[in-house]
Symmetry: C2
Subunit: 425 residues, 2 copies
């Protein structure tokens, strides 16, 4: 049995996880897949991460050109993260005819088409199951299952950090800042949490998933994005009282040539399968025109779940021949596709108003004048003196109409504050 | 673009569903997959099902030999169900070099190895995503994801009929017979429901799934099987009171060379993702040594969800080259594998006893003498005069020890009846 040699670039958490699986299950992979896979080189800035991981530093490589010119290395795993130098390095390797396996959603969201052109030009493979939703095989499913279905919608909880924070806020009644601090303490959130809590990470992943699902380029720059930093404990307890959980959802829909792509907090009905996806778990809920509703659920991040997806791609890359996107992935938008900004949704609106006669009536009139129909309204005594809190759930309405209505409502003399506006599934 | 011609054998619900998808999404499949797929022939006993479905009866074929000898047909979908004549027909087609796509779990569970030998001998492909769990891509996932993982366990709700019945019993407090009648009325259960309610259907599917997951032949004859016919409304309400739902689970585990495979009702904790899989939905919950816990959820049956899986296989079959099992699938058991009958589980036990001093103590002693440790016990006034109901939840114990204890308990003079014994997840 010939050894198949691969390399890992970037030996952090995920790179180390992939290494662990490839070494601890090497015999198992040989017996079940007929492949004897050897991690023959690890590229990093120094050999320190290898030493810390107990890996023989003789496989350390500090120079990308040395890796690119090594004829024995067939495939390289990229777990460096970030755009550069990952992009330059992968392009060198793809150009040298080596296949690439990457967990790098930011790089893919920003430069997928360039990487794919390079891979195509040199007959190299590019695999990225690990870039979205850790060990959950959503990329494989979108490519190799339900190919006969038009995928109509994807609703994903695809960012572990925000789901951890929202679960803590929901389960332990922590406020956002305490939940974030706890998440940082436990390694579920980074010191600078912006990419996660502002929804960038989810938007990168949605760009990849929606492009595959809808067979058209859905650039992350076309994705409406709103994070979780404004969600309050009060929103969470209002959600519970109304029968909902708040989740950061990545939503993609396609109806004919109309595509929606957005990342924002959502009131999810408690009975919906996504409502009970909590902690560091992730899930993608999708609907095909024939297969109906489907959900894939699992660990969205972590060294070994993500490592498992990488190893699956390594095996696919070593066994099969490269396949490329079934849509025009040259970075140009399909001119027939209409990206819908004025989408339709239900809305939860919370206002602090003067506790005076006629306020509810005035606000209801503004909503109604804008074509926004109220599903339920609750008035409560406000926290400050002489104030009331008004909570509305609307029927499905157009985003722009709701924004227009809120613009008018915010200027009413009797309205002290628009506390929250959260979309409802 | 060259047309690719296929045929469908057996034009019932599922065959018709596959036909619908292939025709309504033909242009879509052409544009996204680059395949122009034509259903060029439909085999059935008469042309009546075609006419009823609005299909031109000129593509009707009544004779398998005519289909097998048609050089233009590359691939045949088998949606006849049952062992014969499906087996003979598929073997003829595979022998003629045509690939086969089947939704037939019974045929696979009983004759997989023979079909695969025939396919291998003639270079034909054999695809069966539709045989297990409708549109849920569990076969694809087991073959093409987590290949680097040792799958340690599979817990599946993989029979739609029983899940529908148990959900009705749970949600609407129907007894088993009323729920069954309703399921039959709505087409969720057959006139003779034995294959579903006694767990045969789930055992066929588990045989296929466990063989793929554990890379060894797990014959359905080695699967412990117990249906849902003895589940009472009282069991369901006791389960609810204790924080559980009752589900018919197909369970497969592998630990080294020890394999467990069983189908029986289980108390599933309400917070477990499988507890909320209800109605006609199905799900498979699995654990890999690196990927951790994963769940795939979706419609477990129905014309279009199952048709979707068939179409996915048709596309795979027309695009790729045949692949065969990565384990010895010649029908022989691996002599190193030990099928575990004396498995370990928690248990729910319900007894009707004389309402006398010392009964609880006596029964506890028998359990304890057999090494079965009680987790919780509830004593209630029984329904008949001078009786009490005793409910036990045990800690994890060996199956045989519990059976031995129940044998002794059943013979105690003060025990009127063993009402139920249901395993606990």
């Amino acid at each position: 049995m010939q050894r198949r040699k691969i390399a890992i670039m970037g030996f952090g958490t995920v790179g180390g996880g992939a290494y662990d699986i490839l070494t601890s299950n090497r015999e198992y992979i040989l017996s079940t897949q007929g492949l004897d896979i050897e991690v023959a080189a690890v590229l990093d800035r120094t050999s320190a991460p290898l030493v810390a991981h107990g890996v023989d530093s003789k496989i350390f490589v500090g120079d990308i050109d040395k890796l690119a010119s090594d004829p024995e290395i067939e495939l390289v795993v990229e777990t460096m993260g970030g755009v550069e130098p990952a992009k330059t390095f992968i392009e060198k390797l793809l150009s040298a005819g080596k296949s690439g396996v990457t967990a790098n959603k930011e790089l893919l969201a920003k430069h997928w088409s360039e990487l794919e052109q390079t891979a195509k030009a040199h007959g190299s493979g590019l695999y990225f199951e690990a870039s979205c939703v850790g060990g959950v095989p959503i990329i494989r499913a979108l490519g190799e299952s339900f190919q006969g279905d038009k995928i109509q919608s994807i609703y994903g909880i695809i960012n572990g950090t925000t789901n951890y924070i929202l679960s803590k806020m929901s389960g332990e009644r922590l406020d956002y800042h305490n939940a974030l601090t706890q998440a940082q303490h436990l390694g579920f959130a980074e010191a600078d949490p912006t990419s996660d809590v502002e929804g960038y990470d989810a938007a990168y992943k949605l760009s990849i998933l929606a492009s595959l699902a809808f067979h058209t380029c859905v650039p992350y720059t076309c994705i409406y994005r709103e994070g979780i930093t404004k969600i309050t404990s009060q929103d969470i307890s209002n959600a519970h009282a109304l029968g909902y959980e708040i989740k950061l959802l990545a939503i993609g829909t396609r109806d004919g040539n109309a595509v929606e792509a957005r990342v924002h907090p959502v009131f999810v009905p408690s009975a919906h399968p996504l409502a009970s996806v909590s902690g560091a778990y992730n899930a993608v809920y999708l609907n095909g025109d024939h297969v109906g509703d489907l959900m894939l659920y699992g660990a969205g991040a972590g060294a070994h779940p993500t490592g498992s997806a990488i190893v699956s791609d390594v095996i696919k890359g070593l066994k099969g021949k490269p396949e490329y996107c079934d849509f025009d992935n040259t970075g140009k938008l399909d001119k027939d596709i209409d990206f819908v900004g004025d989408f339709i949704s239900g809305y939860y609106i919370s206002l602090t108003v003067d506790d005076k006669t006629g306020v509810l009536s005035k606000i209801s009139t503004v909503l109604s004048d804008n074509g926004v129909s109220i599903k339920s309204a609750i008035q409560r005594t406000g926290q400050a003196e002489n104030t009331a809190t008004l909570l509305f759930l609307t029927h499905r309405a157009r985003e722009h109409a709701v924004m227009r209505a809120l613009g008018t409502i915010g200027k009413l003399a009797t309205v002290r504050r628009i506390d929250s506006m959260i979309r409802v599934l």
